[in-house]
């Protein structure tokens, strides 16, 4: 290492550690120090977990980055929820269409979600279904009582809260129960397929999307049309759910498997029929036209 008398002449310096051999306590920073990268990443993800700051080796971070695993931000931070909205318009469209057309070999979670469950679809489909149910029920009640002079039209706003309670509890509590059940069975026996809670919520949310056009069709006061649409909607959404959960319980005890799948289908039926009977007036049950009462 050359040292010149002129201090302003450019000199080659060795590694900082060598220069300060006399003084070991001095801190050194070298330009290609890769601690800068994880530092930037941990500030970008907000409240990073404690493991980030104590990771001294840059290679581990780079390997993790390359393998696609991101450091998970804290549950209470905004960024935690942002990764459930990491989708685009065409993704949502594909998922909705995929939930309406079940295919025997295609598992909704594997084909459409691909490890990227989103909260956008379930939340907005549930909200749309709530308002669609309340509004369609209101219209169908009005149409059913149209000729009746004693009937006074009311907007029936209370039904919105009732519909919201029913539909949101179906879309969030049933997946919780399903997830808990699958977790319990996974403890009892080894299973290759296991679903995350968000993926189950996603499947349930998207499977409700077939009911939105069904609910609109229930406005028309034809009994046969209503029951036809119920059956079709039940078949489609029920089969999407069954096909999704079949690989998870396939290796289980046959009785458990049948019980589990039939409970899923039963809850689905209960939701559809319950909504239909509570919110919609069945035409023909009430004497709507004056001519009926005179005969």
């Amino acid at each position: 290492m050359a040292s010149k008398n002129d201090p302003f002449q450019f000199q080659e310096f060795d590694e900082a550690g060598d220069l300060l051999e006399a003084n070991r306590d001095a801190t050194t920073i070298s330009i290609d120090d890769e601690d800068v990268k994880p530092q930037k990443q941990s500030t970008a993800t907000g409240f990073s977990s404690e493991a980030d700051t104590e990771d001294p080796l840059a290679n581990d971070d780079q390997a993790e980055l390359l393998s696609g695993q991101k450091k998970s931000p804290s549950f209470w931070s905004f960024e935690y929820y942002q990764r459930f909205f990491d989708i685009e318009t065409h993704h949502v469209k594909e998922r909705i269409i995929g939930s309406m057309m079940p295919w025997p070999r295609k598992n909704f979670i594997n084909v459409y979600l691909r490890r990227n469950p989103d909260l956008y679809g379930p939340f907005w489909i549930c909200t749309t279904l709530v308002f669609a149910t309340a509004i369609s029920g209101n219209i169908s009640n009005f149409l059913a009582h149209k000729g009746n002079r004693d009937y006074k039209y009311t907007p029936e706003f209370r039904k919105v809260t009732i519909a919201a309670t029913i539909i949101f509890s179906y879309a969030w509590l049933v997946p919780l129960a399903v997830w808990g059940f699958l977790l319990w069975r996974n403890n009892k026996m080894v299973n290759l397929v296991s679903y995350a809670f968000m993926e189950i919520v996603c499947v349930y949310g998207y499977s409700l999307s077939i009911y939105i056009p069904a609910v609109v069709l229930w406005i028309l006061p034809f009994n046969w049309l209503s029951w036809c649409t119920i059956v079709v909607a039940l078949c489609l959404s029920g089969s999407v759910l069954v096909l999704t959960f079949w690989p998870a319980v396939r290796d289980d005890h046959p009785r458990v498997m049948i019980a589990f799948l039939s409970v899923i289908v039963l809850l689905n039926i209960l939701l559809a029929v319950g909504c239909k009977t509570y919110f919609f007036t069945i035409p023909g049950n009430k004497t709507v036209t004056p001519t009926n009462s005179t005969t």
């Binding site: 040292s3 942002q82 006074k152 009311t154």
Partner: protein, 226 residues
């Protein structure tokens, strides 16, 4: 060693340079601040109350005009305020009262329900837009969504006036047309302000909740029955 000593003190050669005492070195470190001039610009404590109120009212009125003629201007976004949305929400909630009063349970929305729908709806849409990666700030979005309720409030006023006359089928058709026109206007006005802040592959995802929000409010306006 002299060499290593030299290396560790690269500016050692400068140690014998000193400033000549003949050169006067003096100055003032303090930064001159003009306190009276600043207070005149930013302090509004001394102005008459009428000026303060008129300034805010003028800002609110200015934004109403921007909603009426929605161009892609940033006036609504830059100086957000929540007075306009509050005024509109209270007016709408008051106008929605007094309908179908004989059935307590099956009537129209209560005052608090309208408030909840408008404010929580706006907050949820704003959160949705931010989670999808929008660049608009929280209160700016609330401001835009609140101000764009104005066409629907105008439609509500029109509906109530029209319902004073009669309540037949023709009147219903008139109300339907007015409400649909104002719903379209509200949605168009708010997307003109909000859509620019989103990446292009997610625009529909942000616009749809806005559409749903104004649709629900339009439904409440349309189904008001005296």
């Amino acid at each position: 060693m002299a060499a290593s000593e030299e290396a560790s003190r690269p500016f050692a050669g400068l140690s014998d340079v000193s400033i000549s005492e003949d050169i006067p070195v003096e100055g003032d470190i303090s930064v001159p601040v003009g306190p009276s001039r600043r207070d005149d610009e930013f302090s509004t404590l001394d102005e008459p109350v009428k000026d303060t109120i008129m300034r805010d009212l003028r800002a609110v009125g200015n934004k109403f005009i921007h909603v009426l003629y929605p161009k892609r201007s940033s006036a609504l976004l830059r100086d957000w305020d929540l007075w306009g949305p509050l005024l509109l929400c209270v007016t709408l909630a008051l106008l929605l009262q007094g309908g179908a009063a004989d059935h307590e349970d099956q009537g129209g929305p209560q005052f608090a329900e309208v408030f909840v729908i408008v404010w929580f709806g706006s907050i949820i849409i704003t959160l949705n837009s931010k989670l999808l990666g929008g660049t608009i700030s929280f209160f700016q979005s609330l401001c835009v969504l609140g101000y764009c309720i104005m066409p629907l409030t105008v439609a509500m006023v029109v509906c109530r006036i029209v319902l004073l006359v009669s309540s037949g089928v023709i009147i219903f058709a008139v109300r339907l047309v007015v409400v649909m026109a104002s719903f379209g206007w509200s949605t168009f006005a708010s997307t003109a302000f909000l859509a620019d802040s989103q990446p292009p592959n997610r625009k529909a995802l942000v616009v749809y909740p806005v559409f749903l929000f104004y649709f629900v409010i339009a439904w409440m306006v349309l189904t008001y029955s005296p």
